[in-house]
């Protein structure tokens, strides 16, 4: 897969106090000019099931279930909001492989269930089929449609709270035995500040111990997405070839907020400082944005549609 590492990078481990510019191959040029290379790899495994009923007795539906896992060392190159770039792509013995982790769009389990049901009342239906004109216009022609979406969350990366080297990135380590999503695990504090630790700081130039760069990316999975959209239709046969449809559509019927991963801003929303800084117990893990920015409350929509 295409990735964009950068060039003229530092190629040795440096203590945070060192001046990185004097350790690059071309000290007269700036560091980190990007280029594209096909050296990433990606792996996806899944179980997929589809459950479909073609139209019969007024009911049709389509459901699917996916249990999947996506891992890659090739972060998306065009899209903002991506897992931070590579930690040390040009460090011999390190490269991009240690950045192999969950894809940012990885979702463990997904259920989608959509369908249409024509209510069984009125002419040509099991109930009240002998109704007269007015009654039939009242009880017949109703149908209900829905889309149910249930998705697990998507992963994100927690960087180190303080620099451990002069020029390389660093991912926070887990504190053994502490639940990373222990604590409130809500929009005020999605993950547990006590569960993350900074790896040891680099002490010597060119040290072969890469522990200061921390662990794999994508340590924590964000909030899931749960939503039910529902609509109710009433059809009026206005003549042999024309009909009028009244549509009442309710989006997000349960008014469930679907939150983003921490650290995303949107229109009118700014990210407080320290959202990814586990030493900032106040703001760490605070979620400030919903998936459907700026917000996605329950919405009702009425419509008339004339078929001719």
């Amino acid at each position: 897969m295409i990735v964009n590492p950068s060039s003229n990078n530092v190629m040795v481990m440096l203590p945070p106090s060192a001046d990185p510019q004097s350790y690059v191959p071309f000290p007269d040029f700036s560091r980190g000019a990007e280029y594209l290379a096909t050296e990433g790899s990606s792996s996806y495994n899944s179980l997929q099931a589809t459950f479909q009923r073609r139209f019969g007795a007024g009911l049709s539906f389509l459901g699917n279930y996916t249990y999947g896992k996506c891992r890659t060392d090739a972060p998306d190159i065009f899209v903002a909001g991506e897992t931070g770039g590579y930690r040390a792509p040009d460090l011999p013995g390190f490269g991009i492989q240690p950045d192999y982790g969950l894809c940012v769009f990885d979702i463990r389990q997904v259920v989608h269930f959509a369908g249409t049901y024509q209510l069984p009342f009125g002419n040509g239906k099991p109930f009240l089929h002998a109704s007269s004109g007015v009654v039939n216009q009242l009880v017949g022609g109703w149908s209900v449609n829905w889309i149910l979406t249930l998705q697990d969350g998507q992963p994100f990366t927690i960087p180190c709270a303080t620099s451990t080297t002069a020029a390389f990135g660093c991912n926070a380590l887990f504190v053994p035995g502490v639940n990373p999503i222990g604590g409130p695990h809500n929009v005020d504090q999605w993950m547990n500040p006590a569960a993350f630790a900074t790896p040891p700081v680099a002490t010597t130039v060119g040290q072969q111990d890469f522990a200061p760069l921390g662990g794999a990316p994508g340590q924590v999975v964000g909030p899931g997405f749960h939503r039910l959209d529902l609509s109710l239709f009433k059809e009026f046969q206005t003549s042999e070839s024309t009909r009028l449809e009244f549509r009442f559509e309710i989006f997000n019927l349960t008014d469930t907020p679907n939150f983003s991963v921490p650290g995303l801003s949107g229109p009118g929303v700014s990210v407080p400082p320290g959202v990814f800084d586990y030493t900032n117990v106040q703001n760490f893990g605070k979620i400030t944005e919903t998936r459907d920015a700026p917000n996605d409350p329950r919405q009702l929509q009425l419509a008339l549609k004339f078929y001719f």
Binding site: S46, T50, N64, T66, H112, T116, G222, S231, N252, R291
Partner: protein, 255 residues
């Protein structure tokens, strides 16, 4: 004043050359948003019948086509515009068999096989049951979403691309500040959102790079009422789709 209408020999030559250059293009149109019908004609003993006459009639327009089976008893209609069809097989010395309501979807190759009974050609057997659901003609994995679903399902913002997620293995793309996931972009089988191939009536509808300003990976989004059906193909799709590693996404608009 009178406009000058006579063309010089040179412009005429250029016109003819242009016509010749463009002519073959017309015959290649619209295959990726169409389907196909094929099958084998046999007698009751299982022997194939060559030269049997097959008539394909579109039930919506009553437009019909004819073909004859080849030496191995096989016939193929391709490309076939999506819709509902009647297929009829006849051969001297056998009863005619007619199969109604054969539905062809985008990129679907429907198998309709016939077993002819001895008898008069004028005797007609009507078969109205649906052809077998198992699709043995193509290895492509995908989900067809028909016009009824496209039109009826509650789609906030009337964005049909969210229906792609009704296919197994399709998940929304990553959360970002540009609203890619909100625009309906998706990751099919664990690939990047921009690795999908959007086709509208067989024409490339891909945003060349991700549309950074609008956060979409397609150029044009037709209104849901204009969509006859779409197909999300996630695996093993036909080579003509090329280009995309992730999925192919042909849509057929009403025409």
């Amino acid at each position: 004043m009178k406009a000058k209408t006579t063309a010089t020999p040179w412009t005429q030559l250029i016109r003819v050359a242009l016509m010749l250059a463009l002519a073959p293009v017309a015959s290649l149109d619209a295959q990726v948003d169409a389907g196909a019908i094929s099958g084998v004609v046999q007698d009751t003993s299982g022997a194939v019948i060559p030269d049997a006459e097959i008539t394909l009639t579109n039930e919506g327009t009553t437009l019909s086509f004819k073909a004859v089976t080849n030496a191995s008893g096989k016939y193929v209609f391709t490309p076939v515009k999506i819709g509902s069809y009647t297929v009829q097989a006849e051969f001297q010395g056998f009863q005619t068999v007619r199969r109604s309501h054969v539905v062809v979807n985008v990129q679907q190759e429907v198998a309709v096989d016939f077993t002819l009974q001895p008898g008069q050609v004028t005797q007609m057997i009507d078969v109205t049951g649906a052809p077998p659901l198992l699709q043995s003609q193509s290895a492509a994995v995908g989900q067809v979403v028909g016009s009824q679903q496209v039109n009826n399902l509650p789609l906030n913002g009337r964005n049909y691309t969210f229906l792609a997620q009704l296919g197994a293995g399709v998940t929304p793309s990553q959360q970002d500040t540009r609203g890619l996931a909100q625009s309906g972009s998706f990751a099919a089988n664990g690939t990047r959102a921009w690795q999908s191939n959007y086709l509208l009536d067989a024409v490339d509808n891909n945003s060349n790079l991700m549309d950074f300003l609008n956060g979409t990976s397609y150029v044009f989004r037709p209104p849901v009422d204009a969509i006859q059906e779409f197909n999300i193909q996630t695996s093993n799709y036909s080579a003509e789709f090329g280009r995309a590693a992730a999925s192919s996404h042909p849509i057929r608009a009403y025409s």
